[in-house]
Every structure is written in C-alpha cells, then in structure tokens.
Amino acid sequence: MTNEHLLTTLRARFGDDAFTDVEEPHGLLTLTFQRELTLELMHFLKEGELGFTFLTTMCGINYPNNLNRELGMIYHLHNLVTNTRIRLKTFFPVLDPVMPTLTNLWATANWMEREAYDFFGITFTGHPNLIRILNVEDMDYFPMRREYPLEDQTREDKTDSFFGR
C-alpha cells in the first residue's frame, strides 16, 4: 500500500481539504487533521479497508508559540499485514484541551491517554479513568508543557553559579 494510495483513499472519504501539512519525512506519511474528525477518522482507519489495526503509540506535544494550536496529539498507526505506517497529528488551543478518547477502538489507548493527560493536561472525553498515571496524584501542574522547568525548583543546595545558570 503506497502513501499515494493511502492519501487518495483518505481524501476520497473525508474531502480534499480535511488534511493539511501532508509530508513524508523518511517515508512515513504524516497528516494533520482537525480534532472534530478524530473518532471518524480512527474508526475508518482501523475498521475500514485500510486496516490500520495496531496503534503503535500516541503522544502529546506543546508548541506554545502557535496561537490557538498550542497543544497537539500525534498518533502512530501500523498496518501489520501490509507493513505500512501512518502518522496523524492534530492541534488544538491550550484553553480548550479536549480530545475524544480512543479506548473503544484500542484498549491500549487507555494508559497512553492518561499519560498525555498527566504530562500536558489534555482531557479525553469518555475515558473510563482519567487520572494521573506517572506523577504524584496531587500534582497541580502539567510538567511536560514547555513553560515549566526541568529541575525541582525547591532545591536550595544547588548553586546556580557552578552550573552556568
């Protein structure tokens, strides 16, 4: 299954302007789609003729400088029969970080979405148990967002002058 065939099938189903920023970095078809299409698109990819039955991974991302598109989700799907991969991206504003859940399609999406919630604060409607997974439960911020620093700010034994800060 070539990337052109994929792209034409998707465009035939969802319309020519449904996918922006179409690229093929290192041979992997990468598309950006609108958040409203998520469930329909994933359902079509998984259950339809294209056969992307394996959700490899999903991750969140934060581009603080893109107005109204600060947060994003990136999905990697894999068709194990024809050995084709596809990368799908979607972006949405940081003031409205809501995405639909994919747990009804793939059971593996459960923890991956919890991780995205834990790190970026993206809430997934319909998720059975959207609580923090890796960080402490009472943490009140979303650490992977670019505005937060890496190090623990409450350390008093680390002198900045030694570390060039």
Binding site: H26, I61, R87, W106, T108, L134, P143, L150
Partner: protein, 431 residues
Amino acid sequence: MDHLISGPSGPEHTERRVQPAQEPLPLFSAAGPGAPLQLRDELNNELTTLNLGPTHPATHGIFQNILKMDGERIISGVPTIGYIHRAFEKIAEHRPFYQITPLTDRMNYCSSPINNMGWHLTVEKLLGITVPKRAQYMRVIVMELARICDHLICNSILGVDTGAFTGFLYVFQEREKVYEIFEEICGSRLTTNMGRVGGMERDFTPVALDKLRTWVKEFPTVMREFETMFNRNRIFMDRTEGVGPISAERALNYGFTGPNLRAAGVDYDVRVMNPYSSYQDFEFDIPVGTTGDTYDRFMVRQEEIWQSLRIINQALENLPEGPFHADAPHYYLPPKQAVYRNMEALIYHFKIIMGEIEAPVGEVYHSVEGGNGELGFYLISDGGRTPYRLHFRRPCFIYYQAYSEMVVGQSLSDAIVTLSSLNVIAGELDG
C-alpha cells in the same frame, strides 16, 4: 478452579462455594476515583482487598496492584505505576544527542545495548548517516547478546518465583561472562552507553573477540542444563500452563509486541518487518506460541535465546572487514588519541559533546526489537542543540495495562507468576 475457592465449610456457606463469581467486576468504579471501597459483590460475598507492592519481592521493580479477592481468587485489580518516574522525556528535551544515550541505557536496564543502538539508529536516520557493514554486524552482535541477557533474567526470575532458585544462580554466572564481554567493548557492565552516532566507539579488540568466541562455545551447555531444569519439569509446567492467558486479538488490541505477543500466536518481530542494522542478512526463526499463557511466554523466550545465539554465530563468522564507524566528523566523536594531540579534533569533540552541531529540522520515528517488544523513538528536531520532543514508545508501559485483565479469575500465586512472565521492567514502565 472450584477447588481454589477457599472459605469456611458448612451448610450456610455451601451455596457460596458452588457459585463462583460470574462476570469479572468492572475494573474501575463508575463513580470514579475516590469512590467508597466496594466491600461486597453483588452476591453479597465479602471481598478482600490486597495491596501487592510497591515493595514486594515478587514485583520486580516497583509498581503497585490493589487486588480485590474473593478468597484466593482475584476479582479485579487496579494497578498504580509511576513510583520510579524519572521524566526521561522531559530530560531529553534539555540534553544534546550524546547526553541522551545514558538516559536510554536506564530504560530497559537488563538489555541496555539495544536501547543505545536504537537511539543511535534514530539519530542516524534523522541525520542521514549510513553506517558501514562492519559496524552494523558489531551492533547486531551486542544487541543479540543483550537480548539473551534480558531473556535469561526473565526466565530465571520466573523460576525463582515458582520456588526454583538454582536456575537463577547458573544463569547469572553466564551473565557475568557477558558482562566481561561488554566491559571489553565499552567499559561498563550493565548500563553500557555503547556506540556512537555513525558506528561503534572502538573496534572489537582481540580480547573481546576471544571472549565472545569462548562464550558462544560454552553457553549452549549451560543453556541445555537450564532447559533440562525447567522446560519439561512437571511442577513448573503445572504452575505455568494455562496461567495468565491472553488471546491474540486482545493482545493486538492492547498493543502487545515482543515475546508476549509472539506467545499469543502473532509473529510480529520488528527485526523482520522493518529490518535495521543488516538484520536482513541473517537467517533466524521467530518462535511463536499458541495460547499466550505463562508457559508459552517462557518457552518463546527460551527459544529466542537459541535464535539469538544463531544470529551471533552467523555475525561472528561473517564479520566483514572495514571501518567501524561512518565518516561523519561533525557527528562522530573523534578518537581520543587525536583529541589529545590535534587541535581540530579537540574542537570537534567539544562541539559535539556540547551539542553545537547542525541537526536538521525534521521528525523521525524509528523502532527496534527490544527485549520486551517494539521499542520506538519518536524524535522531533527543530535544528537546535537538543531535541524539541523525544517520545519513547515503551513496550512495558503498553502491555502492563493488560495485566489486570489477564489475572481475573486466577489465584494470587498465579498472578505473581503471570507478572513475572511478562517481564515488566520498572525503568521502562515509568520512564
């Protein structure tokens, strides 16, 4: 499994005994987290809540499972992870490429060379560097050695969990010998930080090749001893057959990869599907199980050890001559003798380590077959010193979700054995 339902005997309890719990109760209460603890099920049987972990001799690594049990049988379980969350992805956003290699070591620390090589392959894909054949074969040898080490730990600890400690001692002696080989190659035993972008840091010394050849000759004897102890052992088979099964459809839905998926019957191996580092040159089989239970997982790993040994033999025999690294002075650290004598080499060394190199803008996803499955690296580079975003597709994190489903209806000792056979490494789980 009626005989496993414990409880006081007597006429008033007979009804309970012949009516085992029917549907597994939903894993998460519809009322959400913080809802009051459910102490009785719908048949008004009293349930026990058992806290397994985070510090427990049988959970290899720290993760917690709160199990609801009806006597000895598990009704449901809620896992909690994150007890060793070290924020790899956040740290990687602040480190140049070479400083991320030690981080990748510490994900699946039982087979660090595979993580290292996977990371180097990702960076090479981004930078468009071709690695010479000799370096590729060297990488295959160390990756397969690491895979053997990982499977040996998993299987011997599975033996320890069923009460058989000797296998662990025999197998760890072989691991010590592999540690010596790793020391010859890179200087470190466990967290190897092996390889460079573009190849390996040094050629295999004659001592290393010697140790490799000796090990490859002596290991089959020890492995056969280990197999004699476990493979057809009546007690071991009784403990592991039919325990913690998962069907192939369910496993694929859960994103299983690696030996756990192959035990369920799906022959998906990244080395065959998307070959990297010359794996297409080698002839090896993919062992596949049928029921996806603990015994199948154990046997798949045992057989994979033999296949890895086969690959190492082929690679050693056909090791091509040539350079052990690519000609990429902007990305490959210059040799130390040059760094101490030559100004230009010193400057290159400094620049590369500090990250003042030109990385192209782009994104790449590359995956390797780790000890536990498809270990993926999704790297987004914005041309700066450090990656803009680095996401690790960690197989342990993905398949551990299925654990609560796999142990429903099993007894507690079966749950321990299932957990052990999944080979959950806490470093990879929490990342």
